[in-house]
Amino acid sequence: MTQLVIGQLLNGVIVGTLYGIIALGVTLTFGLTGVVNFALGAFMMLGAYATWYLYDVVGFPYPVAVIGAVVVVSIFGYVSDLALFRFTRGNLVNGLLVSIGMISVFEALVLAAFTTTPKDLTYVLPGALKVAGIVLPKIKVAVAAVFLAVILGTYLALTRTWLGRAAFAYAQNPEAAALMGIRTGRLQTIVVVYSTALAGLGGGLYASMYSIEPTIGSAYVLKAVEAAILAGVGSVLGALGGGIILGISENIGSVFFSSAFRDAYGLVFLILILLVRPGGLFGDRS
């Protein structure tokens, strides 16, 4: 029993890092452009398909395929910012609608190119690590490690660099930020593209763990929004923490109670946390 619980605890952490990486994108985009980009799920899906295509069809080595996918998705992100999100900045409501529209468009693109038949990437890193009776698939451990590294790197970059300072400042008061000489438009573009790149990376690594279909993104973006909120919008490490809390509560909940209520376990947790801290676990109490 303890092995079962510990194993699922760890698995929860791993699954949580995936929520976390998308949540980071959600949090950053929201903080800086005032838009909850639901399309990040679709970007993640694009990343997964691009990776599959580059790796399984074209035959690039996996890391190259993932990097390629991140580049492709970033380009999509850049174009979407240029053509769409630039016009919805600071407008939560319209940004939401545009991102919902984009989900349909991306889904259609992928359907037209690859059909609804699920794709399953050739295994990149088969096998599992066995420690003290706990079995963890190697690929999951590797993926989680990459996500952790990226999130921590982002955290350091945001807290230690001027770009990060500018971002925080902008998020609070765009006009004052401009008065400080912060190129706000460029900053927003960088953040939008970076967030989509994170989603692309999420998708690229996702593809090595799970089968992919055109609709995979929607579930993850919801989880990511939940994680971001649970943590408190704007908190980088919080996005990770929120993701992990969700991941663990779902996995542990499914072990002890019916798995049919899997999604509910994280949500109940979320409600409880927000009741104690209405601004999110890591956010300010407002």
Partner: protein, 312 residues
């Protein structure tokens, strides 16, 4: 604007005289119900500033309660609406009290209401003995109304057309009365600056809750009818995607008006049936239209037509 709405209503009344297509009437019926949902949602969202994700739950719970009372316990349809609405209102008061007492705002509020809504959906989905789980419940009864010349079963497109049009008028009317009253002003104050509102003597908690409960209750009213027209209820009624659809309708039509959501709902309900293309192109076009409309008309369709902002 007022005249345009009246003309629209008159036209709507005349439609069944000219159009006999069952499928068109069906789109209209679903459109009216979607519009009712969107109008009631906008009371909470557009006019009070609370992005509730609980609307689908209010709708779905009521649909289920009415259905279960009628099909399992043999209640009269009209009678069953009463407890259904009571339950929805009580649920929304509970959820609202929790959220507003703890001062959850904006996206925090959205996600917590979404969480409650999902929990309710999962309960509906898994409470097999009462709700028949994922299969949902098939409804064969039809609501009847009593007229001096005998009872009349509401069956067929035309009857439902008028019934749901009346439903829309009722929902619209209630929202409009509420918004024009002092309550509407309190709601606007809450939406725009609740701290200021509070120092002006407005019980922010009470009015937030009131707006939320009225909106949710109206959604429940729609739910009561919906299942009986569709012929079934299923757990999907409580799904997030329905909530997102409603948001899209409201935004597309225009948040700052009462009529906007009606327009948005009718357009979005009809749109998929109007686009006759291959499946992929169809959803691509649907998405593109959403994007395009909002970029060209950032205030929604009605927002573009009327430049004057909503007044307190």
């Amino acid at each position: 604007m007022k005249h345009a709405i009246l003309v629209g209503l008159l036209l709507a009344l005349a439609v069944p005289a000219f159009i006999h297509s069952d499928s068109v009437l069906a789109i209209a019926v679903y459109g009216f119900m979607a519009a009712s949902l969107a109008v009631s949602f906008n009371l909470i969202f557009g006019f009070t500033g609370q992005l509730s994700m609980f609307h689908a739950a209010s709708f779905g719970v009521s649909a289920y309660v009415v259905t279960i009372l009628v099909t399992t316990f043999g209640w009269n349809f009209w009678l069953a609406i009463v407890p259904a609405l009571a339950i929805v209102v009580i649920l929304s008061l509970i959820v609202g009290t929790i959220c507003f007492r703890f001062k959850l705002k904006e996206f925090y509020f959205a996600v917590v209401t979404l969480a409650f809504s999902e929990v309710l959906r999962l309960i509906t989905l898994n409470w097999n003995s009462i709700t028949n789980g994922s299969l949902g419940i098939t409804i064969v009864d039809t609501p009847k109304i009593w007229t001096p010349s005998g009872t009349f079963a509401i069956a067929g497109g035309v009857a439902w057309y008028y019934l749901t049009l009346a439903l829309l008028v009722v929902v619209y009317g209630v929202c409009s009365r509420v918004l024009k009253s002092w309550i509407g002003r309190c709601l606007a104050a809450i939406r725009l600056n609740d701290q200021l509102g509070e120092t002006l003597g407005i019980d922010v908690f009470k009015y937030k809750l009131l707006g939320f409960a009225i909106g949710s209750g109206l959604a429940g009213l729609v739910g009561a009818f919906y299942g009986f027209y569709a012929g079934f209820v299923e757990p999907h009624f409580l799904s997030i995607s329905l909530g997102l659809d409603i948001i899209a309708m409201v935004l597309l039509g225009g948040v700052n008006s009462l009529i906007g959501p009606v327009v948005g709902a009718l357009v979005l309900t009809a749109l998929p049936h109007v686009i006759e293309l291959s499946a992929e192109l169809r959803i691509a076009l649907y998405g593109s239209i959403l994007i395009f409309v909002i970029l060209v008309m950032p205030k929604g369709i009605v927002g573009l037509l009327t430049s004057r902002k909503h007044a307190a």
